[in-house]
């Protein structure tokens, strides 16, 4: 009976895992396959002669290193900007009683729903007026336009669960609003801030449309744009290099998840339990 119950859990879980891991597996194997093995092989799921050739050519013969640093710079910048602005906005909406706070929180959420494909033309006009076109750092405020609404909305939900009495106790104890935010609410919001950080970083790292439209010189490209514009010539796909680039490009996100997810889960279950 017990055995059957375990099967009922592990068989579907295993199937879902295979389904989810297959693209990743394909990416890894393609990145280390020799050129002749890419299109002509007896077993596409196996690597017969592994090689680092694609990775070394990617790193030596393209601007990949540059793209990687660009993406890191933009993602970190956009994440720091968005999470800190969202934290303050969410705190104000949840705790400071002012006219229209409810309308504001709905408006923030609605602005997240507007698809980027609609926004990129008006945003381009703004960028041209500001002479920000093809400046890498311009992507930071641009990404903030979709990250701030999302993070604010996420943090509003989180801050609502922190008992109001804690802040009132701190006010009676003599703390100012800024001190309350820093000394009381911030330490208690760490799990929420971590999830906002993970989402922001992942979304900025994988962003494609804005980076493609607003950055045109190779030196200003991000990984996702660089790979598809510089490694596909007409209908010729540099599969080995493309997959190597994608593999290296996923590493930061994997690392972020690897380190923080456990902290995030632990924080969620322990921080507010009285």
């Amino acid at each position: 009976m017990r055995g059957w119950r375990q099967w009922k859990i592990y068989v579907p879980l295993g199937l879902v895992m295979i389904f989810l891991m297959l693209p990743f597996y394909w990416m890894v194997t393609t990145a280390i396959k020799a050129r002749h093995e890419l299109l002509n092989t007896t077993n596409p799921f196996w690597v017969f002669a592994p090689t680092l050739h694609h990775i070394t050519t990617l790193l030596t013969q393209t601007d990949y290193g540059r793209w990687f640093l660009n993406t890191l710079f933009v993602s970190l910048g956009a994440t720091i900007l968005s999470v800190s602005v969202s934290y303050m906005a969410a705190y104000a909406i949840v705790r400071l009683r002012f006219r229209g706070s409810r309308v504001l929180s709905t408006a923030i959420f609605l602005s997240y729903i507007v698809p980027p494909a609609i926004l990129f033309i008006p945003l381009a006009t703004v960028l041209i007026q500001l002479h920000w076109f093809n400046h890498l750092w311009a992507l930071i405020p641009i990404y903030a336009t979709f990250l701030i609404p999302f993070c604010t909305w996420l943090l509003i939900g989180f801050l609502r669960n922190i008992p109001r009495e804690l802040e009132e106790a701190a006010r009676v104890d003599g703390a100012s609003y800024l001190k309350i935010m820093r000394r009381i609410i911030l330490p208690l919001s760490i799990p929420g801030l971590i999830s906002a950080t993970i989402f922001s970083f992942t979304l900025s790292w994988n962003e494609y449309l804005y980076a493609l439209v607003y950055m045109f010189s190779s030196a200003n490209k991000t990984v996702s744009v660089g790979l598809t514009t510089e490694l596909i010539h007409g209908d010729v796909f540099q599969w080995g290099q493309l997959m190597s680039g994608a593999l290296l490009g996923t590493l930061p996100v994997v690392i972020v998840y690897f380190f923080f997810v456990e902290y995030y889960v632990a924080g969620m279950s322990g921080a507010l339990k009285e």
């Binding site: 804690l166 104890d173 003599g174």
Partner: protein, 369 residues
Amino acid sequence: MAVVNLEHIWKRFGETVAVQDFNLETNDGEFVVLVGPSGCGKSTMLRMIAGLEEISEGRMTIEGREVQHMPPKDRDIAMVFQNYALYPHMNVFQNIAFTLELRGVRKAEIKTQVEEAARILGIEHLLQRKPRELSGGQRQRVALGRAIVRHPQVFLLDEPLSNLDAKLRVGMRAEIAKLHRRLGVTSFYVTHDQVEALTMGQRIVVMRDGQVQQTSTPLDLYDNPVNKFVAGFIGNPAMNFLTAHFEAEARRLSGESFSFEVAPRLSEALSPYTDQQVCVGVRPEHIQAVRDGSETRASTLKGTVELVEPLGSVTEIQVNVGGTLITAQVDRNINPRTDDSIELSVDPAHVHLFDMSSEESLLAQQAAA
């Protein structure tokens, strides 16, 4: 220690009036209890004294200083919250020290003061623990420690015992009272539990629907309630109420299955109610069972026993008297049984009378006149 003066305090939330014309002047070092059913405005009043809620109208002074426009930190008050509101990420020491740290007290001095507070409350061994590692009673002590370490002029306690189990509550009740005697700080204590109010308060303010019903000492509230609400709210088990007809000629108050002799102290108050109905209130401990064969009493009730609850020292019974359920605390040796017919006698010296429509006490009206 301080005199707190609250003059014509109002609180409105939009259309709703939460507190209506609240007036009170405390004595120096007094322990004042605000009591009433939930939603009566007692917590709102406390929060206004703390400065966590703005007052809509009125004047509030602490030791002569007008405070109604000051932020909480400048009012020189300390507050204990119902759910303790301990900072979960700080240990007990840091929780108590936080307020001193914010005031820029030196580290060595903080340590001395926190240890002193911990010693008073018997929590020295818990200083390094986090709030989640403490029991309810221990958390309550930490919350008290956080309040006393400031040496405030006024203590505000918002239902501090309501999250504790019954036994612990009795113990903590005594400890808070002891702490108050030791520190002598003017205190406001909010509770919905009338037993807590009676046992702890030097003066009790009974509130209902945002209005003060009566402000007095515990025993005076118990003996001389000004209206039916206070009479029914204070005392456990609650006062019994019966509708009676006043027969002026016979000098009797009677209703279905009962008839009371009118004691001389009541006749003047009853004079405007000749041949009219009044509400009669009798506390359960002032009703006794009439033993078989004993002489007929002047004030009696007849009914059927519906419930018998032996409490050890006395037996509590519920008796159906002409359709009204009456609670009485009778001698345990009477040993009544359910469905028995029973005759009860009432001590006429302890009968309360209320107007049927205004519910005001006739005796209080008489005293006021």
